[in-house]
């Protein structure tokens, strides 16, 4: 069979895969602290590792696949909510939460307080301060730009903010949590927090729509290519060539 047939097939599979990521970005356009995912396409060379292989052969066996997704780390828009327990991060930092599966990172600052006064994430896991979990004191809560939490002037703790180095393996785990090896974590530099606000998802609906259309149209192109191989070339090979001579 023609190698082009498989190339078109692989490309189509990768476009349907891309659609999954685009759908997830658009579905999470209202999720606070959500980081958009971008698709990475790359080519895979199917070769026998033979140096003497002709360049034509290499070009013919070069398949495009979707090889990965990267997290968009750009700042999302900060939306004012007026809730004292909503905190947005301005900068590259992450909050640290203690879950049953170890430390997780999040930029979703929609916090709540447990019955015994502990500061919790929206999912109910303790939010870490620089000296462990934070217990809120009664009274009106105020959170300063550096993350210091106080009630009526009495300091309850300071929010722990960390930077995760690029390439440290930041992984989405759902629930707006991200995990990374602790070795990739450093104290956040230049990140400020803003009380009474939440950071929106950084999904850009325009880019997502363009990506959607591109994926759809390029899948259509692959369909045309496939039907071309299917109906035209193979038909010629099996039906017409036999009549020659």
């Amino acid at each position: 069979m023609d190698s082009g047939y498989y190339a078109a097939c692989t490309a189509m599979a990768s476009r349907t895969r891309a659609l999954d990521t685009i759908a997830n970005n658009l579905a999470n356009a209202s999720t606070p602290g959500y980081r958009a995912q971008h698709n990475v396409f790359s080519s895979v060379l199917a070769e026998a590792g033979d140096e003497t292989e002709s360049s034509l052969n290499k070009a013919m066996n070069n398949y495009g696949i979707m090889s990965g997704t990267t997290l968009d780390r750009t700042q999302g828009a900060i939306q004012k909510t007026g809730n004292d327990l909503d905190v947005a991060i301005q900068g590259s930092g992450f909050f640290v939460v203690q879950t049953a599966n170890g430390s997780m990172y999040t930029r979703d600052g929609a916090f709540q307080v447990s019955a015994n006064g502990q500061l919790l994430s929206a999912a109910g896991d303790p939010v870490m301060g620089e000296k462990g979990p934070i217990t809120i004191l009664p009274g009106r809560l105020s959170i300063s730009a550096d993350g210091t939490i106080s009630s009526n002037g009495a300091v309850a703790g300071k929010l722990k903010l960390v930077d995760i180095a690029a390439g440290a393996g930041l992984t989405s785990v759902g629930g707006t949590y991200y995990s990374a090896p602790e070795s990739g974590e450093t104290a956040a530099v230049g990140s400020l927090v803003q009380q009474g606000s939440l950071e929106n998802s950084n999904v850009n609906p325009v880019t997502s729509m363009v990506e959607l259309i591109t994926a759809q149209r390029s899948a259509e192109m692959m369909q045309h290519a496939l039907s071309m191989f299917n109906s035209e070339m193979d038909k010629t090979a099996t039906q017409d060539l036999s009549k020659v001579g």
Binding site: T31, S114, N116
Partner: protein
């Protein structure tokens, strides 16, 4: 089959719930003491095809991995704790709380309910009750012939009786607050019930050091619904619903194209 179809469906469902909540906020924008809610969303699990940081070769690791997200879900509806505007009614038995506290009222099943709607009136015995007839706790009885009712900033209720110059104390209003008011259970009629998430009530007199707030007589607290914000959120919900349905259409067309290939 494509995940995209289900992922987009999760986005559409989420925006439907978002719109339901916005509709409830707007419907209650004239409800005394109503506290608006906001739906919090979070992303669903991820399908990890290649984990970031996995070994690519013996020496190198994958920098970004291949993670396919499976959509969104509404996590909770957070109660917005902002103070509502106070409007003057001139009725001496209308009380507004400026602060975080709640009035305590006795429910028919002897449970204590908590409310910020401070529109009270005396029942046949002169006991102060809410519009639904739930008595304010601790109970305060206004003598039927009282000519004047005054509430001090510390919650003491005093009345003037005909022929007397000296005001007479008939009780003290206490307020309750919670360490996590967002965890209260709303049961309608402006009433909240305590839950294990909200914690036990901290009760005290108004204006005290517990930060319960003060009581304003002759005022009512309006709903803290911000109409402009709700409309903006409604537009966002609608557009987001549309973009998710566009994904469904795209996935459908791609599948249709695939089916045509086989013909």
């Amino acid at each position: 089959m494509f995940h995209a179809l289900y992922t987009a469906a999760s986005g559409m469902t989420a925006q439907q719930i978002n719109l339901d909540n916005i509709a409830n906020n707007l419907a209650n924008s004239s409800t005394t003491g109503f506290q608006a809610r906001r739906v919090q969303f979070s992303d669903l699990l991820y399908q990890n095809e290649v984990m970031p940081g996995a070994a690519a070769t013996q020496q190198t690791t994958v920098a970004s991995g291949l993670q396919i997200g499976l959509g969104t879900m509404p996590g909770n509806t957070e109660i917005i704790q902002l103070q509502g505007d106070l409007s003057s009614t001139g009725n001496p038995l209308d009380f507004a709380i400026q602060g975080t506290g709640f009035f305590q009222v006795l429910m028919p099943n002897n449970q204590i309910g908590y409310t910020r709607a401070g529109s009270f009136q005396p029942d046949a015995q002169g006991v102060l009750v809410t519009a639904n007839g739930n008595a304010l706790q601790p109970a305060i009885t206004i003598p039927p012939n009282a000519t004047n009712v005054t509430i001090g900033s510390d919650g003491t209720v005093s009345v003037t009786l005909p022929g007397q110059t000296q005001a007479q104390q008939v009780g003290t209003i206490q307020l309750a607050s919670f360490s996590n008011p967002g965890g209260l259970n709303a049961i309608g009629n402006n009433i909240y019930l305590q839950t294990t998430a909200s914690g036990n009530p901290i009760t005290g007199v108004p204006g005290g050091p517990d930060g319960l707030g003060t009581i304003q007589q002759g005022m009512l607290e309006q709903a803290n619904v911000n109409i402009v914000d709700e409309f903006v959120n409604m537009i966002l919900a609608q557009r987001s619903y549309e973009s998710n349905s566009r994904v469904v259409k795209a996935a459908d067309e791609m599948l249709q194209g695939l089916n045509q290939l086989a013909q």
